[in-house]
């Protein structure tokens, strides 16, 4: 067995999703290689070589990969697939975009969003917004998998001493090109790996009111998230969405503010260690999963909470 983790990076560091995929790869067994496609990505290759548990880092450094277009990255992965029994990536917008294309080109199934490895070809994954857990066995010779980051601890970024090898670019598929991006910038920790997440829903009433949550998040060193309703209403950008079809988070502390707790939202946060709900409706379903609930008006409670945190215990 040999596992290839298709790595994701920002030019400087590996994404947390990739580090979690490395952990899943180690559970599968066999050697672990990490593929990095990028332009001028030598620093990331150096970083990846230090990740504990990684044996080889394959680097395809080419302007073609300055932006990871699915058609080109899939082509590259397929060109290297011969040497591997398993191909893994994080189940984030990068892995979800690229890996099914890889699987189809190899004529094999993909197992999406695994939460546990029960054998080299047996995995547990959520279905129906996490209302059921399915154990599946892959029957193809090669196995393509995307890994849910919250289910696997990220591999340690120090301790490894992998070999770095250069691999050739696989050519431009000539099907798509990158135009640009409007990325949300934030000084706060990244939503999917933050220790604390404060999320707001429709109850926030406006984008301006999210400042209340930002203040609270800053006090807790956390990230800010949202329900679909808050994103659809335009209060916050799309990348704030937590849920079945948004981001999956499992922080130490999740604070849901003005969020009713629809199953699609719970799907994205119910594995958090401690859940706090602030809602004026005592019947709101969010209270059924909250460790600590407080019934009342968020516009009064959130500033009060922020202030209470200023005082030492």
């Amino acid at each position: 067995m040999a596992v290839l983790v298709v790595g994701e990076h920002d030019g400087g560091a590996l994404k947390a999703a990739t580090l979690s995929a490395v952990t899943a790869a180690q559970k599968i067994g066999g050697g672990v290689s990490v593929l990095l496609a990028g332009s001028g990505c030598a620093p990331v290759a150096e970083a990846a070589a230090k990740v504990a548990g990684v044996d080889r880092v394959l680097v395809a450094d080419d302007p073609l990969y300055a932006n990871p277009l699915a058609e080109n990255v899939a082509k590259l992965v397929v060109s290297l697939a011969g040497g591997f029994s398993h191909l893994l990536a994080g189940a984030d917008s990068f892995g979800k975009n690229v890996m099914p294309r890889v699987a189809a080109l190899l004529d094999v199934a993909q197992v999406s969003d695994i939460m546990a490895v029960e054998g080299p070809k047996v995995f547990v994954r959520p279905i129906y917004a996490g209302n059921a857990m399915q154990t599946v066995e892959a029957t193809d010779e090669k196995v393509v998998v995307t890994v849910r980051g919250t289910a696997f601890e990220p591999a340690a970024v120090e301790g490894g001493a992998a070999k770095i090898e250069t691999v050739p670019a696989a050519g431009d598929a000539g099907l798509s090109s990158y135009v640009g991006a409007a990325l949300s910038r934030s000084e706060r920790p990244e939503l999917t790996s933050a220790r604390v997440v404060v999320s707001g829903g429709r109850g926030m009433q406006s984008g301006e009111n999210f400042h209340l949550l930002e203040k609270l998040a800053d006090k807790l060193g956390g990230a800010v998230g949202a329900s679909r309703a808050a994103v659809d209403a335009g209060y916050v950008p799309n990348d704030y969405q937590v849920g079945q079809t948004g981001k999956i988070v499992a922080p130490e502390l999740y604070v849901a503010v003005g969020i009713s707790g629809a199953i699609q939202h719970l799907a994205g946060m119910k594995d958090s260690k401690v859940i706090v709900a602030i809602n004026k409706d005592e019947e709101a379903p969010i209270f059924q999963v909250a460790d600590y609930g407080i019934v009342g008006d968020l516009f009064q409670l959130v500033p009060e909470l922020t202030q209470a945190l200023e005082k030492p215990s």
Binding site: F94, N131, A132, E137, N238, K273, I294, L309, S313
Partner: protein
């Protein structure tokens, strides 16, 4: 230009799903079914392309048992022109769906194909990407804006960091995200009209595709249950609990 949209019949998003006692799957009998919400968005987008004069015909395709026809009827009632039903009672997994759709696409020669980003039952998020791979076409996944311009399209995609825009050649596969549009409801007259629109019936055999599942389900179980906790009366009590009991702050 012809637009092809894939529509899947799934358990309605509002239904509380129950795992079967024998752990083979989830309860599907007497459960309310509906069109996959992402496919409603796909149908809406296709119809808008036609209304904007960019598309000439909208074809809705569904794969599965006989009841999938109802889902096609829903698409026809929303405004699709005709349907194709690939009938099979075999459990269809994304790779098989992609192969069947590819065969249909080779017959129909659409200029653009719209599928949902994810079916809310299996939550696979694979079919569109697989289909694009099999066809050797570009893919624009998780689309929140689609602009067709001549031989190509500019698509805004919802990605982890925010929004990304790419340009793709046509024909191409688009997968829909939630913010692409807000699907319309079918009006009563349109529901009546839809009854007369044609639905072609096909089979995997006729399309020359082996739909056999590649993933074997060993079991399906309930997720670990979370216990409801306590209600606190005051913010101070909350802070005390978080500090001293939960020790998370």
């Amino acid at each position: 230009m012809k637009v092809l949209v894939a529509v899947k019949r799934v358990i309605d998003a509002n239904v509380k799903v129950r795992v079967k006692a024998d752990n083979t799957g989830v309860e599907l009998t007497n459960v309310k079914m509906a069109m996959n919400p992402f496919d409603e968005i796909g149908v809406e987008e296709a119809i808008r392309l036609k209304e904007a004069g960019k598309a000439t015909e909208v074809v809705a395709v569904s794969l599965g048992g006989a009841p999938s026809q109802e889902t096609i009827r829903t698409a026809l009632a929303m405004g699709a022109d005709r349907g194709i039903h690939v009938q099979t009672d075999v459990e269809l997994q994304p790779l098989a769906v992609a192969k069947l759709l590819k065969a249909v696409i080779e017959k129909e020669q659409p200029g653009i194909v719209i599928v949902g980003k994810q079916a809310i039952d299996d939550d696979s998020n694979q079919t569109g990407q697989m289909l694009a791979g099999l066809l050797g076409w570009p893919q624009a996944t998780f689309a929140s804006k689609l602009n067709i311009e001549g031989e190509g399209a500019e698509v805004t995609r919802e990605v982890d960091g925010g929004l990304e825009t790419i340009r793709i050649k046509l024909p191409a596969i688009i997968t829909t995200d939630l913010r692409l549009n807000e699907p319309r409801y079918a009006s009563l007259p349109n529901i009546m009209k839809a009854k007369k629109k044609p639905i072609e019936a096909l089979t995997p055999e006729a399309l020359g595709v082996d739909p056999k599942p590649r993933l074997k389900t060993l079991k399906v179980v309930e997720p670990p249950k979370r216990q409801a906790g306590i209600k606190v009366k005051t913010v101070q009590e909350l802070v005390d609990k978080l500090r001293n009991d939960a020790k998370v702050i």
